[in-house]
Symmetry: C2
Subunit: 342 residues, 2 copies
DNA sequence: GATTAGCACTCTCGTCCATAGAGTGCTAAA
DNA sequence: TTTAGCACTCTATGGACGAGAGTGCTAATC
């Protein structure tokens, strides 16, 4: 990474920030006028030509101002931007929205997503902890009407997965109860991914040999959760918000973005594949999906008991206020972790 | 309702169907050419002038063709359109998408919503059965880690509501178990809305007097579900699809619509307030929300055990293929009812 | 009396063109 | 090294204009 001299950095910052604020290519005069760099527009013009040569700026056409390239944004994010904390007001708002006692986790996550989108004017994505990595708390089998039953799998963080099953004739609700208890006793503390490979299955099988049929059904479902390709549920919010952004005035672009993000596999790839615990930024064509090449993504993981669990993130135009968005995402993950650990 | 003579009906049908197909005001020549009415364009011109006078058609400007007014669409829907069944292919697709055994109900509803949007190119809304009207199947209290517990309320149709609660020190997991069983025994079969007013509460209270603290907490949550203003969860899908429609090429319109529909109260009002079991159509300004005045809504209720439960619906441009959309909505509700009753 | 051909009239939309405005790069002076 | 000045480039804007589509009306026709 070439180290830029201070003035180039200042010019770079000015270009990015002006472009972020006004969504229009910025010219040397604008910078000379609005930012107090102590040099004339001609000097800035020269610096900008240099920055263009370095690949940090680009021009839509010769007689327009300049705007940051992907590399330019990357430089800005890595070297210049500061993660900025939300205002007290926003913080208060976040606390109020997701901090409510005794609401369903689902609702907490949904509220978080909405808020995130609201504050950043981006699309927000909230990914639940993936079932395969989740630590199991309780297995419960509940009889329903008309020969059906429901298998509930509750994870340590309080997420509930449920499956409806046909109930064989010879399975009584006492059996269900019994199996539930034994399974819970054996499996609590294991991750769903670990169950199959673990020793405990042996123990369970021997203890529940007389409920073989029911046990097999349940284990089958459990093992399906454990497989890697069962993907975490996620929630997209804020389609209306992202359309405030000038770059989404073209419907086709908005449409493409929404279409790409409605694919589970994409979300999986973009968010869950990120290992970083800290705020992570993906700029423009750094992601490999055609439809969202001109968007940036900011994500972070929330954690439960110190273990990274699910992720939240936003997707917006490359021209976003990175400092602010990163701050918001970071703060919200902390709040979420806090609320979910409470 | 003035009865129109046959030819006017034909002209009306032609105008609506041509406009629906091409999204452009239709002129008398077009109808004379494309629809075989056996009269000249001049005659059709006269008929159209009459229809305009009746309020069924309107012109964007003098020298343009005509398009249906709200009243025109209403007439078309009530008197002319036929609900058209989906193609075999579509039916197959629906069955495959929502008919999968052993998937979470949540996923079934989500799949239904996506499909509905996909097929109709409208926004789809899927509303879960409202908790207050749902018939209770099981109440389950499960201990979580670190002094928390979870209350699960499972309805007859297999919907799960959960709440996280702080667990008082002196409540043991045996107590939770006991309370769960007693509550389930007493309350199964009651709707959540009925619980409070019913006699059974007395019985429960006396039987569980020794677990008073825990019971109070749980009853408090249950009663919160029963109140009318706890609103059913719903799911919006297909923002990307509705943008295919020419009337949503203007982002601001799309934005307004999405914003309106993201309000729980609006969904509640628009869908849940409809009592009709059959397919119900709301055209243009028949709804009272500013942002969606130029949209139409088609909804129907799915049922569980013959009782209307939740609703599904689509929202799209007034200029939609009412016959086809109504058919799709109707078919999908039947399929949903079938799957959920299975 | 109903239908139709013909025609004048109206309104929109796309194209073309000229102009204003913004920004650049280069050169020469400070 | 910085800056003032200037010629040049490109876009955006607005007006003029003609093509095209459709109507309403009148008079002729069935």
């Amino acid at each position: 990474m070439t180290r830029l001299d201070e003035r180039k950095r200042q010019v770079m910052r000015a270009v990015v920030e002006s472009y972020v604020a006004n969504a229009q290519p910025v010219g040397s005069r604008t910078i000379a006028r609005d930012y107090d760099l102590g040099v004339s527009s001609a000097t800035i013009r020269n610096e900008m030509a240099d920055l263009e040569e370095l690949g940090y700026l680009e021009q839509p056409h010769t007689s327009a101002g300049r705007m940051p390239s992907d590399a330019g944004y990357r430089f800005y994010v890595d070297e210049i931007a500061r993660v900025s904390s939300p205002t007290h007001l926003q913080l208060e708002r976040m606390r109020r929205a997701i901090g409510q006692q005794a609401s369903e986790i689902d609702e907490v996550l949904q509220a978080a997503g909405r808020l995130l989108s609201e504050i950043t004017d981006c699309l927000s994505v909230v990914v639940e902890p993936s079932p395969s990595g989740a630590v199991l708390n309780t297995v419960e089998i509940v009889p329903l009407e008309s020969d059906r039953m429901m298998l509930l799998v509750i994870t340590r963080e309080g997420l509930v997965h449920n499956r409806m099953l046909d109930c064989p004739d010879d399975v009584s609700s006492e059996q269900m109860n019994h199996v539930s208890h034994v399974l819970t006793r054996y499996l609590r503390g294991y991750t769903l991914g670990d169950i199959l490979s673990s020793e405990v299955v042996r123990g369970i099988r021997s203890e529940l040999d007389h409920c073989r049929k029911l046990l097999d059904m349940v284990m089958h479902i459990l093992s399906s959760y454990s497989s890697e390709d069962v993907q975490a549920r996620y929630r997209l919010e804020g389609a209306a918000n992202i359309m405030k952004q000038p770059e989404f005035q073209d419907v086709r672009r908005a449409q493409k973005v929404l279409r790409v993000l409605s694919q589970q596999s994409v979300i999986n790839d973009l968010l869950r594949s990120v290992r970083s615990e800290d705020v992570f930024v993906l700029i423009g064509s750094e992601n490999r999906y055609e439809g969202i090449r001109d968007c940036s993504i900011v994500t972070s993981a929330y954690s439960i008991r110190g273990q990274s669990a699910g992720r939240i993130g936003v997707l917006g135009p490359r021209r976003m206020n990175y400092g602010r968005v990163m701050g918001t995402v970071k703060t919200l993950t902390s709040l979420l972790s806090e609320v979910l650990n409470r």
